[in-house]
């Protein structure tokens, strides 16, 4: 008799709680937030295609679906990768992530033929010049997407590492102390 009471009461409790959970999952359901839009906002937005996708929008879509890793954006560097990881709620072990380091493009004046192909490619309007006239890159506006580098017919553009300045230099982690120039 006692056993039946025990089994019965537990069964009733289990059924009740289970029903409650089911009801809650139907009526208290939280809509998916617009993840893709938020991811897009975290990306640089230059549509440079270094990640392999045509534009940042496509990259954001792939990230939202989980089809791309958070380290897909080289110009964004570690900062963007960390933010993406946080937004997606994934833990990305970025300690091994090799930051190529920021780069910027420089035009070698001797080789420039003034064809304006690079100007048309530049997503940040960092190159100024006119047809048949010398082209120049505004270093502060260049974020190293390398689209100009790819289209220059005379290979007059080269990508240089942004040097560490005295003001920006900082110590590396003690474990990595052999590489002084941390960036």
């Amino acid at each position: 008799m006692i056993m039946i009471t025990a089994v019965g009461s537990l069964a009733v409790m289990g059924a009740t709680l289970g029903t409650l959970l089911g009801v809650a999952s139907r009526y208290l359901h939280v809509e998916d937030d617009p993840l893709e839009q938020e991811l897009l906002a975290l990306l640089p937005g230059a549509n440079c295609a270094q990640c392999g996708f045509v534009g940042c929008g496509q990259a954001a879509a792939a990230l939202a679906k989980g089809e791309a890793g958070v380290t897909l954006c080289p110009p964004g560097g570690k900062a963007v990768a960390e933010k993406l990881a946080k937004k997606l709620g994934v833990s990305a072990d970025l300690s091994e992530h090799e930051d190529k380091g920021p780069e910027y493009a420089v035009i070698e004046e001797d080789l420039c033929i003034g064809c304006t192909r690079c100007i048309r490619e530049c997503t940040a309007d960092a190159i100024f010049g006119a047809p048949k006239q010398m082209h120049s890159i505004l270093r502060d506006n260049c974020h190293g997407c390398a689209k100009c580098f790819k289209v220059c017919p005379t290979e007059a553009i080269k990508m240089c590492k942004v040097p560490v300045t005295l003001g920006e230099w900082h110590w590396a982690k003690p474990e990595d102390a052999s590489s002084l120039h941390a960036h």
Binding site: P44, G45, A46, N47, G76, G77, K78, A79, V80, E82, D93, L94, S95, P102, C122, T123, A124, D125, A126, N141, H143, V164, T165, L166, E168, W169, H170, W171, A172, K173, P174, E175, A177, L180, H181, A182, H183
Partner: protein, 492 residues
């Protein structure tokens, strides 16, 4: 004067007796002087001389490069050999633009600005202007342009000028000797600065392990109602601005604010002496006293060196290296920066050159943390080094920032006391630098996004304009078509 307790701190072995009793000796002029254009916090100075120019002692070589900047003057007469890049006295070993001056041995003065008569009644603006022109920066090592700091009185009501004679770092005795030998100059400079700040009181704080300096300064300040001399406990880091202010006033400077917001401005005693020279004699900042010490130096002493003398010049003057040092440090052992080599110049912020033996440095390999909690007990900023370093080791910089790593002043007390020899402050320096990197990258990303949006908007507009023009042309062509067909129909 009632003192207040400062939380935490450590009591390292001070080892000051090696140089405390020897009087300041002047360094003989070296063969060349190397003057970096940036010896201060702020924008680098801009050269006003060129290679080949002949200059006189005290002549302006580079003017201030902005609102927060300081000029550079010739420490002696001679010829400008070149203005080129040279290794900075900085752990990175990176180069920086440097003026190279070859002394002609004549040490001839240029024409100096007039002495300011009766500075204690002069306009504060005049005094600030003179301090700015003389290239004076914080001589305790922070090298913040002093004229900018003297400006703080214009925006706030200030109560006290606090002169920092604590010198809490081990080995260093340069401030101690300057206080003992030039007490009158310091006090005069202090009163001038207090006047420029509009602060009615001056307090000179000296650590109790400098009894002679205390006595001499007290005597020099006797009879001056506005100047009080206070002995503070010998506790590292008593010389830290915020902690010294807490010891004297009992108030904690709120995070992200200045001590001036509490009505107190802190300056180093050597800075006060430099102000005295600038105001009373028109002499710009040309030299400084450097403590050369450490187990690897044959004859440690305090040296008054012209700015731009090489560290190797000072070391040779002090008998050279008796043994190969393990570390050569610019400043004190706790917060000093290691130098890349001896071939770097002495600059305005070089308070000490220490050549430390391996025994003195006592570096051991790091062991696992045993959570003893000593670092928490002694942190003068109330942080939790054990937790922050664990997060930083795992690259979780956000968690470290939440725990307050940006509030860390890198005093080094935690690393000093950790029984497992964990390089705690090294982790925090890394974290702070990395967080700054991430901030910079984020700002750059925002900037780029704006540029790209602007670019897209421009392209849109062009496309629209083209489309509108094409539509207009098409409309005109269509209109012409209808007109001609109507005509034709009319004819038929």
């Amino acid at each position: 004067m009632k003192l207040f307790t400062v939380r935490g701190g450590v009591h390292p072995e001070y080892r000051k007796e090696r140089t405390a009793e020897s009087a300041i000796v002047a360094l003989p002029l070296p063969e060349a002087l190397y003057l970096p254009l940036q010896q201060h916090i702020g924008a680098p100075a801009l050269p006003v001389v060129a290679a080949g120019d002949l200059v006189k002692k005290g002549q302006l070589l580079a003017r201030a490069g902005g609102a927060v900047s300081a000029p550079v003057h010739a420490p002696t007469s001679g010829r400008i050999a070149a203005i080129s890049d040279m290794t900075a006295p900085h752990p990175s070993g990176l180069p920086q633009p440097t003026i190279i001056l070859e002394p002609d041995g004549k040490d001839e003065w240029a024409e100096l600005p007039e002495a300011i008569a009766d500075p204690l009644n002069a306009s504060p603006d005049v005094i600030r202007q003179r301090v700015a022109e003389s290239g004076i920066v914080g001589m305790g090592g922070a090298t913040f342009p002093s004229a900018v700091k003297l400006n703080l009185g214009t925006e706030r009501k200030l109560e006290t000028l606090l002169l920092n004679g604590a010198e809490c770092e081990p080995y260093l005795t340069c401030d101690d000797r300057v206080m003992r030998e030039f007490a009158a100059e310091i006090i005069d400079g202090a009163r001038i600065m207090a006047h420029a700040l509009g602060a009615p009181h001056t307090v000179i704080a000296i650590e109790e392990n400098k009894p002679q300096a205390l006595e001499i300064i007290r005597k020099a300040a006797a009879g001056l109602a506005d100047v009080v001399v206070v002995s503070v406990p010998a506790q590292y880091p008593m010389g830290s601005e915020r902690h010294l202010v807490q010891a004297i006033t009992g108030q904690e400077t709120p995070a992200r604010k200045l001590t001036a917001d509490l009505g107190v401005v802190v300056h180093n005693v050597a800075t006060a002496r430099a102000v005295h020279h600038a105001v009373r004699f028109g002499k710009p900042l040309l030299s400084r006293v450097v403590t050369v010490s450490g187990g690897a130096i044959a004859k440690p002493q305090n040296v008054e060196a012209p700015l731009g003398a090489l560290v190797s010049d000072l070391v040779s003057f002090c008998g050279g290296l008796s043994v190969p040092p393990r570390r050569v440090v610019n400043g004190g052992p706790m917060m000093g920066q290691p130098l890349p080599s001896l071939a770097v110049p002495v600059v305005k912020g070089t308070s000490g050159i220490l050549a430390l033996t391996a025994e003195e440095a006592n570096e051991q390999p790091a062991e696992p943390c045993i959570r003893c909690g000593t670092c928490v007990t002694i942190c003068p900023c109330g942080l939790v080094p054990v937790e922050m370093s664990a997060f930083i080791r795992k690259e979780n910089l956000e968690a470290a920032a939440r725990l307050g790593v940006r509030d860390c002043v890198s005093c080094g007390s935690c690393s000093y006391i950790c029984p497992a020899h964990i390089p705690l402050v090294h982790y925090f320096n890394y974290a702070k630098g990395r967080l700054n990197d991430l901030d910079r990258e984020a700002r750059k990303t925002d900037q780029i996004r704006q540029l790209v949006e602007g670019h897209n908007v421009r392209i849109e507009k062009l496309a629209q304009a083209r489309a509108a023009a094409a539509a207009a042309v098409a409309a005109a062509a269509a209109a012409a078509e209808t007109a001609s067909t109507t005509e034709n129909r009319g004819e038929a």
